[in-house]
Amino acid sequence: MKEIVVISGKGGTGKTSITASFAYLGGADVVVADCDVDAADMHLLLQPDFARGEDFYSGELAKIHPDKCTQCGKCAEICRFDAISVVDGLHIVDPLSCEGCGYCARICPTDAIENLSMNVGKWYISKIKTGSIMVHAKLGIGADNSGKLVAKVKNEAKRLAEETNKEYIIVDGSPGIGCPVVSSLSGASFVVLVTEPSVSGLHDLKRVYELVHKFNLKAGCIINKSDINEKVSEEIEAFLREENILHITNLPYDEQFTIAMTNGQTIVESDSNGLKQKIADSWDKIKQTIN
């Protein structure tokens, strides 16, 4: 079983549209995992049935029980996140500031502080329109720990792929370079970097590749909207050669990305000249590289 993780560093490069297309092409051979839990959009293209959903708890939140609190002020003194303040003579916790470190509960002399486990979102196992399975999630508002939810989604996808003997897991990875993307990348057999030829696209590609390199992962790159800026596009290609990253393909700037999305379709389902074939060729190329 191989795990293909698609990431982009910056948003708006067409990452999700491309990932969903691979998922469509892979059909029954793949389990899909949407690890972009912060902006989980793949369900809009793959129409999961949300068959099974479960709440996800991770991290803690302090709560002071006023009946037991003697207002001694110790908790407010030690809290490094200024999460405890006095309102109308009572010590209370601001849930948005509390990091859930649990320090206050440990030192409260009257055991007045309880650590509540936090519901950070929900995750789902669904059947999608290709007949295959997708694991996805919805992060709660302002929730932390998307790294943990991402890991949950990935591990479930892995478990399902093993149980059902699937050949591939295709992961829509998280943006940025922090915890969520680190969780998305862990265990990857191959990383697909989707970028666009803009100064910020190149900048973010280099930054996220540093992370990929740090984990010693094999990678390939798709340059989307390559004709927007030929010069930067060439710079990206030069960077790929330098770093020995497989140059998978160049895709032109094409409104078809948006048209397909607006119809709730992957690009390979909607009729478009050339684009469909290029994506299909890319998928074959990736499969060849990792097998």
């Binding site: 560093g9 910056k10 948003g11 708006g12 490069t13 999700t16 912060d38 902006a39 959009d41 809009l44 991290g59 803690e60 030690i78 490094r80 996140f81 948005l96 990091e99 859930g100 470190c101 649990g102 320090y103 440990r106 030192i107 992060l139 508002i141 302002g142 929730a143 932390d144 998307s146 790294g147 943006p175 940025g176 370079i177 922090g178 915890c179 680190v182 666009e196 030829p197 803009s198 100064v199 910020s200 696209g201 900048h203 973010d204 930054r207 540093e210 992370l211 740090k214 909207k225 927007i228 800026n229 930067v232 700037y253 409104e255 948006t258 999305m261 607006t262 709730g264």
Partner: protein, 288 residues
């Protein structure tokens, strides 16, 4: 006044709006633009300014001093983030996981886990005439964005007086880092695209702003693509649409070269004017 420019998902044009709006405003008044998308700070690619100051940013993490440790295991037990672990007769600290709560350090009975500074990123302070630009950049491998965001906000608050307009380029999404940026601002501009992805992510961002009880408005970028779902949603919810920036290949090309667009594309300037008018009405009306 403090304004955050945010979006439910990345790549909707948040940075384009931040840099163009700031540069345009700075033609007439003092403006501070602070790029708090510390994982992927991009605004700096569009702003030509002179570096005034740069500093390394640190967070506090525990450091194990072997000699006095009794291997009591308390540190491991109290760390909710598994950032200190006892391995045989050693205590290991994983600084990238540490949230800096001081629990292990202060509860260590042998006083042998002092907190020490560890570099997590860089802050740069640049200036071009009336535009001040603060860029914060998280080191690769560092997993916590929030501490750097907090310190950058403090830097801005210390160095600029309240009457100067401050624009924060927020990270994308709706998780912790975004809350950190938006919770103290007076107004939030949510940038979106008129597509199903854009609408889906906008709805989550709107819920977040409602939860935070923040006044906000929407700017539609690449207006003309997709469908009218976003506009109908905003109308239905009574959300002000401050501007509609047209979809134009020229804008994408200028952006790709790292150039500002408002002087090249008159429609963009017109739309920015609408935002500025809205903001000044807000300011006069007093922001709640």
């Amino acid at each position: 006044m403090k304004i955050a420019i945010a979006s439910g998902k990345g790549g909707t044009g948040k940075t384009t709006l931040s840099v163009n709006l700031s540069a345009y405003l700075a033609e007439n008044e003092e403006v501070v633009l602070s790029d708090l998308d510390v994982e992927e700070p991009n605004s700096g690619l569009f702003i030509k300014a002179q570096l005034l100051h740069e500093e390394e940013k640190y967070k506090m993490v525990p450091e194990w001093k072997e000699d006095q440790c009794t291997l009591c295991g308390i540190c491991q037990e109290v760390c909710n983030f598994h950032a200190v672990i006892q391995l045989g007769d050693m205590i290991m600290v994983f600084p990238e996981l540490c949230h800096g709560c001081y629990a292990c350090s202060e509860l260590c009975p042998a006083d042998t886990l002092p907190m020490v500074p560890k570099k997590m990123g860089m802050l740069k302070h640049l200036r071009n005439d009336k535009l001040s630009f603060i860029e914060s950049r998280l080191d690769i491998g560092e997993e916590q964005a929030v501490p750097l965001i907090k310190q950058s906000q403090e830097y801005v608050e210390e160095h600029f007086s309240d009457d100067i307009l401050r624009i924060y380029d927020s990270p994308p999404g709706t998780s912790c880092p975004v809350i950190e940026v938006t919770r103290d601002v007076d107004f939030v501009i949510l940038v979106t695209e008129p597509t199903p992805f854009g609408l889906h992510d906008l709805k989550i961002a709107v819920e977040t702003m409602k939860e935070l009880k923040k006044p906000f408005g929407v700017v539609v970028n690449r207006h003309g693509i997709g469908n009218d779902g976003v506009l109908r949603y905003c109308e239905g919810e009574g959300i002000p649409v401050l501007a509609k920036i047209p979809n134009d290949r020229k804008i994408a090309e200028l952006y790709s070269e790292g150039k500002l667009v408002y002087n090249e594309v008159p429609e963009v300037k017109q739309e920015l004017d609408k935002i500025i008018t809205y903001l000044s009405t807000l300011k006069q009306g007093g922001v709640q």
